[in-house]
């Protein structure tokens, strides 16, 4: 498991994959991509790291733990739905704001929520497996 090739490539690939995942998340509205795919990519970055260094070290380097990540994602997705009722429309009705010629909308926020949730969920499952396998051996 602790092959040096994997360790070094994981070290450099993790930030790359994370950056890529953010890019995929951002472009998702107009071109293939989005929160779901982005989340899977981000998770695979961490999983690669986990395979190289183990669950403990990976966890210690995350400033938001998977459980919190997933919960935060769900919260963001939920909150994005409440912009509609505030301006008198139905729950989840998309609201759009222009900011420096960039169109920002609650669906984007919702997608961020999906992204975080998917990342968190994948990591929760992976960590459950890795942690227990590590202690098992």
């Amino acid at each position: 498991m602790s092959s040096q090739i994997i360790q070094i490539s994981a070290k450099y690939l993790k930030p790359l994959l994370l950056a890529l995942s953010l890019f995929v998340l951002y472009r998702g509205h107009n071109t293939p991509g989005g929160g779901f795919i982005g989340g899977l990519l981000a998770a695979s970055g961490y999983i690669l790291y986990m395979m190289a260094y183990g669950a403990k070290i990976t966890l210690s380097k995350m400033w938001l733990k998977p459980f919190n990540l997933a919960a935060l994602g769900l919260l963001i997705a939920l909150v994005s739905g409440f912009f509609g009722p505030v301006v008198g429309e139905v729950f989840m009705a998309g609201q759009w704001f222009s900011f420096l010629e960039i169109k920002l909308g609650t669906p984007t926020l919702f997608d961020v929520g999906v992204y975080l949730t998917v990342t968190g969920v994948m990591l929760i499952i992976m960590i459950a497996i890795f942690e227990n396998l590590e202690t098992w051996n």
Partner: protein, 773 residues
Amino acid sequence: MELYLPILIIFVAALAAPFLEKLLKGAVGWVLALFPLGAFVHFTTLSLLIGDGETLYRSVSWIPSLGINFSFYLDGLSLLFLLLITGIGTLVLIYSGYYMKNYQLKDRFYMYLMFFMAAMMGLVLTGNLITLFLFWELTSISSFMLIGFFHEKDSSRFASQQALLITTMGGLALISGIVLINQISGTYEIPYILSNPEILTGSPMYLAVLVLILLGAFTKSAQFPFHFWLPGAMAGPSPVSAFLHSATMVKAGVYFLMRLSPALGGTPEWKLILTVVGVVTMFFGAYFALTQTDLKRILAYTTVSALGTLILLTGIGSEESIKAAIVFLVVHSLYKGSLFMVAGSIDKKTGTRDLNLLGGLGKKMPFTTAVSLIALFSMAGLPPFIGFIGKELIYEAKDAIPDAANFLLIMSILSNALLVSVSGIFAWKVFFGPAGNTPIEPKETPVNLWLGPAVLAFFSLILAIFPGFFTSNVAGPAVKAIIADDVKVKLSLWHGFNMILLYSLITVVAGVLIFVFRQRIVPTLCRINSVIVRFRFTEVFGKMISHFLTFTKKKTSIVQNGKQRLYLLAIFTSTSVLIGFMIFKSEFWKLDFQFSPISYYGVGISVLMIAAALISVFSRSRVTAIISMGVVGFGVALIFLFYSAPDVAITQILVDTLIVILFVMVIYHLPKFRKFSNRSARIRDGFVSVIFGGLMTCLALISNQANLFPAISGYFNEHSYISAYGRNVVNVILVDFRAMDTLGEITVLIIAALGVYSLITMKFKEKKGEIGK
């Protein structure tokens, strides 16, 4: 200001409460009390509008397609309840500031309490039956949290569970009743239902609706035979008893019946059920109050009695009785809230709530004594307190049912006489008489503890002497809302010499007699109870629950035997049978299939996938099997790609990669590859899977042919950029058009992840434990 804003603010304040508690420490009660106080002032100013006969209505759509809205409807009845909730809520929060000082997790206590307050306000303000149900259940849940606040105690947990189970069972009946109402009237909006009363009462389903709604209301308002959860709920802290279990939540059932009374009430069935249940509850509550020794249990049983009275009065439904109900509701909330807080203070300052240990507190706690005497006089229905007016009105109300008037009169005189004696015993034993033998030397309470009871007691006095504003702006409109007719409510202490005064005199004399001979009567009653009353509700309920658990355990061990291959077999066979039947019915073989021209890469990928699938079935190595499964997955992704669904293809590739990695990680730790099944089982499984796969193919072919509904993909394509500003239709569907579904999906994802996590962790812990041995 928006009608729902106070509720929203208090919900937000509830979320902030734990942080405020950490920040403010001792002052938190005072600060949090500002929220309901503000709402109280706000609603008091609104009462001027309501007093002029206006009602306010505001609707925010939630799920308009199902007729579910956040509608809010303010009339006299909701206003009355809102004033009670916010007013008593303010006092209870101030009281809690001191009372809860030394308990752990008190930050959460404030959150639950505020949360309850907001939910209760929502319950009485909402004008939509579904949102009403939502708030109804929220109050049940917060009540559960608050009763079980001392969660380290077994008895607390049992009591809170019992209360939750009973009220939510009622809740289930309630929601069924609500759905039936919708089926009959076509709407969930309360104002509409109220303005067309004949729809419900004239419907053949009327009795079903009535019984279901009544079950909900009776469980919530602790009517016989569901009353027993309320004395049990005394396991919660005293502020909770004062707020939820006397003044507000237990009255939700009464509120709902009053609210629906124009639409559901007035029929013979309504009158019969409500008066019978009400009378029985009223009498037994008062009777059992006499034989209790715990201060809070005494108060709980008198609350049960009072709730019975309210149901009885609502059931009679005449002008007099509704007047009496509204006045008595306020009367009871005032004195009972006050008395519960006093009981809590006494508990705090003496260390006990046992009637036999307490005594002579009058000298040591003079102020508390004065306050509780006012409240007790009101409970006994003596002048010049509002309790007296309430009782007189109740006696007056009996005449509306001539057949049973005498019976009702005797029962209510008896119940009230019992209440007089209970008040007398409470007052005498606790405040006068010889000094008690208390664990702690009693001391007068600080301002937080006496302010609440004092204000409530003060109102009991002031409303009786100057009832003007209250009757014209609150009680009058409330009565009007219930009987849908303009009535003037006039309250006065002195009605002249008439029969009602005579009944009052009889009541007081009988009560005093019971009080004087209490040393004979009470022990006799206790002995009688121990012989006759073999039926203990709490025990029977506990037994029912444990029997139910054994039953479900047995059932589960049969249905869910823990063997995944059997689950899969069951799922595949039953699905195959159902799908097969439908395919057979649709005469699938007669369809004319038109396939698009087959491309060479399509054929190539298909052949590859079929080969990979076959390899994974017959392979003797796990790694080979999994990698071939991966090949199948990637093949599917390629097909998606060819048919221009790049999003789905990317997702498929990522998911497949992750699954293969997961498998490879775990495989290393699995036991050696072996055959566990015999030949016939494998043939059976093969047969089932071939059938299932074949049927799925047929299904795919049919669904390609059958256009049951016009495809909505065109709509999505057109509107994706125009109304949702996104060119990627798949993504727009996920996060905008169908965002609600996605929200559900990610919630399920999290739940699944939690399940996986706990299953794996538990399994490994078990294994480690075995090795340790």
